[in-house]
């Protein structure tokens, strides 16, 4: 596993000499700032309305976590859909274009080393992205009193969802030699995981494809949104952590199989 560290280090360094990393980080920071401000403005407006209409009961229930931080995370999550594939699309495709795949596969590094190394690099970048985002709720602590635990849970949710998408993106980049295809394949898979619960509902309700309630249940479980939402609401539950570990594990295994298939073609 020592080789994984070597490979991860190289990937990260390469990422930061390419414009993609800076473009994604800049855009991410700008979007974060924009949506944080707009959520903040909304939050104030709601407060004002409530005061105007003397809705003191509701006013007492208003808090920074539920009315500001959570919607903010929910909005920013949408940008992972394109942000994560943009970062992961080159991971394996670049090695095919540079022919460095041959260098990696004929070195003493195992295929696990290569897959885990590249994943660690992507994961590091995701953590950086979420840390950048953490700045905005951090501001609220200077001027208000959000709950620490709930905020951390939300950030954890953001990290986990980004890590899961990174595993999907890594897999997408391993099955093609074209970056653009890798990008769209990752995007499609991520969207599919978003829609799974809808497909499950539809299937169970209409009985299409002979889908029973049990299959629909599995599809609902596989969908990302519910697990993510519970975390942003401040609920850190084992079943949701298991879900993200499951998605990451499955896609890393698929990536390994896909890289290995070069040898057995």
């Amino acid at each position: 596993m020592r080789h994984a560290g070597t490979i991860a280090g190289r990937e990260l360094r390469s990422l930061f000499v390419s414009p993609v990393a800076y473009a994604v980080l800049t855009l991410w920071a700008l979007l974060g700032a924009f949506f944080f401000l707009s959520t903040l403005v909304q939050f104030q407006e709601i407060l004002l309305r409530m005061q105007q209409f003397q809705m003191f009961d509701q006013l007492r229930q208003m808090n920074l976590n539920d009315a500001l931080i959570e919607p903010f995370f929910q909005t920013m999550w949408v940008f992972f859909l394109i942000g994560v594939p943009a970062v992961t699309m080159h991971l394996f495709t670049a090695d095919k274009a540079n022919r460095t795949e041959e260098l990696l596969l004929t070195s003493p590094a195992t295929i696990w080393d290569i897959v885990v190394g590249k994943y660690l690099a992507a994961a590091g970048f995701m953590v950086l992205m979420v840390a950048l985002l953490g700045f905005f709720p951090g501001l609220l602590f200077a001027f208000g009193d959000p709950e620490v635990g709930k905020t951390w849970a939300g950030l954890l949710g953001m990290v986990l969802v980004a890590l899961a998408y990174a595993a999907i993106g890594l897999f997408a980049s391993s099955v093609t030699s074209n970056q653009i295809i890798a990008f769209f394949l990752a995007l499609m898979l991520i969207v599919l995981f978003l829609l799974l619960s809808l497909i499950g509902d539809l299937g169970a309700a209409s009985g299409f494809f002979g889908m029973g309630e049990s299959v629909a249940g599995v599809m609902r479980w596989l969908a990302t949104a519910e697990h993510f939402s519970r975390l942003t609401q401040g609920l850190v539950e084992t079943r949701d952590l298991v879900y993200f570990a499951f998605i990451i594990g499955v896609f890393l295994l698929l990536t390994k199989a896909s890289v290995e298939s070069v040898r057995w073609r």
């Binding site: 080789h3 070597t6 490979i7 190289r10 360094r13 390469s14 000499v17 390419s18 670049a94 540079n98 022919r99 460095t100 795949e101 041959e102 260098l103 990696l104 596969l105 004929t106 070195s107 003493p108 590094a109 195992t110 040898r263 057995w264 073609r265």
Partner: protein, 250 residues
């Protein structure tokens, strides 16, 4: 140092390499000849562990490529036909990465990289970005990445293809130098594929010729050209014989 035992590679119905066996002694420079598509690259990819043979096996040093794949891969320095380079890295950083990847102990990495840079004439461009280098220099970086971990075995796939005559001479000189032991530095056992015959005459001691996946010649260069025969004729005869046989079959 290298022993190929009945190496075969099948792609679907196509038998790319058919039961190829040979032995390469320590310190020997062997030219791997054959027309385009004869199976040279496939054979080399099997020796380096990139492709598993469909049949047969190979032993590199003491390590069988199936039983001790990591040890076998560690013993080989490989320059594929297209040098595997990260264009965004600088020469030195790239070689450091390759050295770490090949298990060079951490505190020997600096020396290993310096030695490879010096041997390949890259000391002046060590901080340059690989993507900005000329083709000849990139080829040298390709050789440097193959030797940076001082492997006992070097596998070079058409190392001079696409270079200008002066660069070709430099790379050949470099290969000849790598094969000859220098003080304190190990001699490399070299397998070199090419279809440039003068290249073989210039640096190889032995010739293995494969045609349509089969080994047709395996003799010392001196023996092949002993009676004044030109390598070109040997090559033409060996590859033609097969074509004739095939015509007779049909």
């Amino acid at each position: 140092m290298i022993e190929a035992r009945g190496l075969s590679k099948r792609y679907g119905d196509l038998l790319a390499v058919d039961d190829v066996s040979f032995v390469v002694q320590e310190g020997e420079v062997v030219g791997f000849l054959g027309p385009n598509g004869a199976g040279k690259t496939t054979t080399m990819r099997m020796l380096t562990g990139y492709l598993p043979p469909s049949d047969g096996t190979a032993v590199i040093g003491d390590a069988d490529i199936f039983e001790q794949p990591i040890a076998a891969r560690r013993a080989v320095g490989y320059l594929p036909e297209t040098p595997p380079l990260y264009p965004e890295m600088d020469v030195q950083g790239f070689l450091r990465f390759v050295a770490r990847l090949h298990d060079v102990p951490r505190r020997e990495i600096r020396d290993a990289v310096d030695r490879a840079l010096e041997r390949c004439g890259l000391a002046d461009v060590r901080r340059r970005v690989i993507g900005a280098l000329s083709k000849g220099y990139r080829q040298r970086v390709g050789v440097a990445q193959a030797i940076v971990h001082a492997p006992p075995v070097l596998v070079l796939d058409e190392p001079t293809v696409g270079l200008d005559p002066i660069q070709i001479r430099e790379i050949r000189g470099l290969i000849a130098e790598l094969a000859a032991p220098r003080d304190g530095e190990p001699a490399h056992t070299v397998v070199l594929s090419t279809h440039i015959l003068p290249e073989v005459e210039a640096i190889c001691q032995r010739v293995i010729l494969i045609n349509r996946g089969r080994k047709v010649v395996d003799r010392p260069l001196a023996e092949l050209t002993a009676d004044g025969a030109r390598l070109e004729d040997v090559f033409a005869r060996a590859t033609a014989r097969d074509a004739d046989a095939e015509e007779a079959e049909a």
